[in-house]
Amino acid sequence: MRRFGLVVLALALAAGCRTEPPARTGVRIVDDAGDTVTAALPVHRVVSLNPAVTELLFAIGAGGAVVGRTAWCDYPAAAAAVPSLGDGINPNLEAIVARKPDLVLLYTSGQNTDAVRRLAQLGIPALRFRTDSLSDVPRVAGVLGRLTGRQSGADSLSRAFAADLAGATTPPAPYRPTVFLLVWDQPPMTVGRGSFLTELLERAGTENLFADVASSSAPVSIEAVAARNPDVILALGAEPPAFLSRPEWQVVPAVRERRLVREEGSEFSRPSPRAPAAIRELRAALHEALQ
């Protein structure tokens, strides 16, 4: 009730009394899902249920405001000290409310719509952000800077990111080898156009073998892989993929000749300020595999 009163007060203040601004003002924010939310800025207690957002909050210097995170928020190391509230999609509301946040940040998934609506009923503003591509890094960092009062941190992050990205993607590769991205083997699954990994591969001077596939996660047949004949196979995960020793995979020349690159780490699975480093790492590894 108190929180609701605060929002009403903030709204009234924002609407009328411009001449005498209070310490905290209600500001209307439109998120990536198209919702308009009013929140008192700057926020001091943020629950971030999106690992990319958690990482950005720490990167712009607002890590101290993070009071809840997902189980996947593994970067930076300081994030581990924040209580984990589960896996972030369709979250547990009780766990969120218990952290007494004044803002909740989620991923733009349809599965989060209900959570946003119910949080609003409880008087807790919730925003959803799309974090799927490199361009989302400076864009979302800017919004987060405004929300947390860390504009300067966000601005310098965005400048550094742009410069770092430009440095990582030059000089352009002499030719563009094709890479088969193997995210799972039984059944073989890859990622298509529109996924962050495809963008990383393109920035690293290569081409996703299945860039023509629209879905971001797709089962493909070994036959299709063999026919398209990738230059390199990129496997994600902690261990080398054991199944590559299975007989049916030997039809793919890159498997037979072990032109295989393995990468692990969350910098390859979500857009972050670490993306330029990930691109450099990919370029070096792919170059070595193609020697």
Binding site: D87, I89, W184, Q186, P187, P188, M189, F210, V213, S215, S217, A218, P219, V220, S221, I222, E223, A224, A226, A227, R228, E239, P240, A242, F243, L244, S245, R246, P247, E248, Q250, V251
Partner: protein
């Protein structure tokens, strides 16, 4: 006439199965790839498509024989190869293997097989404990109960593991022949030969069993022995097919009924006919699964039901009008 149709269906399905795929070959390229080991198409045709088609045929045939036999054994038209707890056990094994992710390329199929046979052993034990003889009704109950139990543990494991792993586990369970190889063909054929022969030899006792146990006994069948034999043979076949391709529904349930509708009620004819028809059906379903959305693949279990249900509805209609 019907027999001729069935005999023709088999080579036609095999040819379509060989020809269909994400890569399109001309008939000449396909033939070259089949007979010359160094032709352009040889790798794909000889190493991927031929084993895949053979495996789909063998598994489809086995599942449909298993369905026919279980329908007679349990005297229940709804019986299918997975009814007696096998899918739950296999699923649990596969999910555990996916969650633990051991460094062995055959871990998931091996674990699925172990899970399925474990469930079978448990069901068998339960149904024999309940009475000295193997009561089909108790068997059915024990199967459903063990299946739900394994399914519940599987759901628990899945809900505690990563979201991506969950999707992968379900994709694997939905079935597919993406991981077919010659080795899988040899292992499956060597293994399936004995239970298949046993089931073919049980044709007469299945006829008697489907009349009811009392009548079967009066007609001189060693009912108890036959029941156990059929149960173990069907279970072993299903467990092997789960290890090869996950859970492919519909084939084992409906192909035997379709064959019966075509007028083959005696098991001596029903079983071989069901084997051929089931094999051809699964080969065609798999061909669809890998061409409809190429270069992506659909789970073959989804295709069997999407294509099979309208076909079966047609067949039902035809017989009633």
């Amino acid at each position: 006439m019907k027999r001729l149709g069935l005999l023709l269906l088999v080579p036609v399905s095999l040819v379509i199965g060989l020809w269909a795929g994400p890569v399109t070959f001309t008939p000449l390229e396909l033939w070259d790839g089949l007979i010359h080991p160094y032709a352009d198409a040889a790798d794909i045709v000889r190493e991927l498509r031929v084993p895949r088609v053979l495996l789909a045929f063998l598994v489809g045939g086995s599942l449909s024989i298993v369905g026919a036999s279980l329908q007679a054994l349990l005297r229940n038209p709804l019986a299918d190869p997975y009814l007696l707890g096998l899918s739950g056990g296999a699923g649990l094994g596969a999910v555990l293997a996916i969650a633990l992710n051991p460094d062995w390329p055959w871990a998931v199929p091996a674990a699925a097989f172990a899970g399925a046979t474990g469930a079978v052993a448990l069901v068998y034990r339960l149904s024999v404990v309940a009475g000295r003889r193997l009561d089909p009704r108790v068997l059915l109950l024990a199967g459903v109960v063990v299946g739900s139990f394994a399914g519940a543990i599987m759901t628990t494991v899945v809900s505690l593991s990563e979201a991506a792993e969950l999707r992968r586990a379900f994709l694997w369970l939905l079935g597919g022949f993406g991981a077919s190889s010659w080795r899988a063909v040899w292992v499956f054929s060597a293994y399936a030969a004995l239970p298949l022969v046993l089931l073919f030899l049980s044709a007469r006792s299945l006829d008697l069993l489907s009349l009811g146990e009392e009548s079967a006994k009066h007609l001189g069948a060693d009912v108890e022995r036959n029941k156990r034999l059929v149960y173990i043979a069907t279970s072993l076949l299903t467990a092997a097919s789960v290890a090869v391709c996950g859970i492919v529904g519909f084939v084992g349930l409906v192909v035997p009924h379709a064959i019966r509708r075509l007028g083959t009620p005696m098991h001596r004819e029903l079983l071989p006919a069901a084997f051929l028809a089931g094999g051809a059906f699964l080969v065609l379903a798999d061909a669809l699964a890998r061409t409809v959305v190429r270069p992506l693949e659909l789970p073959v279990g989804a295709v069997t039901a999407i294509v099979g249900v309208p076909l079966f509805a047609l067949l039902l209609r035809r017989n009633y009008t």
